[in-house]
């Protein structure tokens, strides 16, 4: 992937180079830092402040994650009760049309095709100032109570 398409917080996949066929391994991670030709990747469900363990990967060893209905739910969209092919957060909407996903928002006359999770994260952030993210793991109550 090109570094210039990424922001810190984007979700990406890593490419498994151990097999003969090099394909994404389906274990998504979160961009924590962007360096020369490399990125630091963290677990997706931990807040940044808690992250001490990371892996470094070359930009050529990460891949965009194709957007799916499962990913829309993961990052906070809710399926529309009446129109099952639509997913909403507030005034923002993603609709599945002809095997593709299209994003729009209230009052927009047109919609933008979205192929990858990071594209949706970035467009949503630019429009709303909020991050689309997987809910971070909260500490178990027992751990908090013991302090």
């Amino acid at each position: 992937m090109k570094a210039s398409v990424l922001r810190i917080g984007n979700y990406v996949d890593t490419i498994n180079r151990e097999n003969k066929v090099h394909i994404p391994d389906g274990l998504p991670l979160k961009i924590g830092a962007i360096e020369f030709f490399k990125v630091k990747l963290y677990k997706i469900d931990e807040p940044f402040y808690a992250q001490s363990v990371y892996i470094k990967r070359s930009l050529s060893d990460i891949a965009p994650i194709p957007l799916t209905e499962e990913w829309l739910i993961k990052i906070g969209f809710k399926q529309n009760d009446l129109i099952k092919s639509e997913y909403n957060i507030g005034t923002e909407r993603v609709a599945k049309i002809d095997h593709g996903f299209f994003f729009d928002r209230y009052h927009w006359e047109a919609s933008k095709r979205i192929k990858y999770v990071h594209q949706l994260q970035n467009l949503y952030f630019e429009l709303t100032g909020d991050e689309l993210q997987i809910k971070e793991t909260e500490k178990p109550l027992s751990e908090t109570n013991n302090k």
């Binding site: 210039s4 922001r7 962007i34 006359e109 047109a110 095709r113």
Partner: protein, 128 residues
């Protein structure tokens, strides 16, 4: 400013202490080394102005208004702010329906760069 707002290639102002080192700095990977928490040290956003729109190649749309156009993008001027509009006249695989995307307030140059990229997949570049 927060590192999560920026992409490589964004224009920002670079500071050392209170002194401006570069008022048109383009973010490179090394800049992300200066992170404290998620805050980028010594980097501030550039306020969007008519001069910056002209630098990017935007042109005044109609004389009575202060709107600016570049390809399908129209920037509307408010009283003290800019509003982003995307006027879609050609439907291709990237979009569905014709029409206008509108009502996104822009305060900074990097916001314009990132929104333009998020919608078109192309970088907005300084005019030579």
């Amino acid at each position: 400013m927060e590192a999560t707002e920026l992409r490589i290639g964004n224009y920002v102002t670079l500071y050392t202490g209170d002194t401006i080192v570069d008022d048109c700095h383009q973010i490179i990977a090394e800049d992300f080394n200066e992170i404290k928490g998620l805050c980028l040290v010594g980097i501030k956003p550039i306020t969007l102005t008519a001069e910056w729109l002209a630098k990017f190649g935007f042109q005044k749309y109609k004389v009575p208004t202060n709107d600016w156009m570049l390809n399908n993008i129209r920037i509307f001027s408010g009283h003290h702010e800019w509003w982003f509009g995307f006027e879609l006249t050609i439907v291709n695989k990237q979009f569905k329906n014709e029409g206008v995307f509108d009502s996104v307030r822009l305060d900074y140059v990097h916001q314009l760069q990132n929104l333009y990229f998020a919608l078109t997949g192309k970088e907005i570049k300084l005019k030579k």
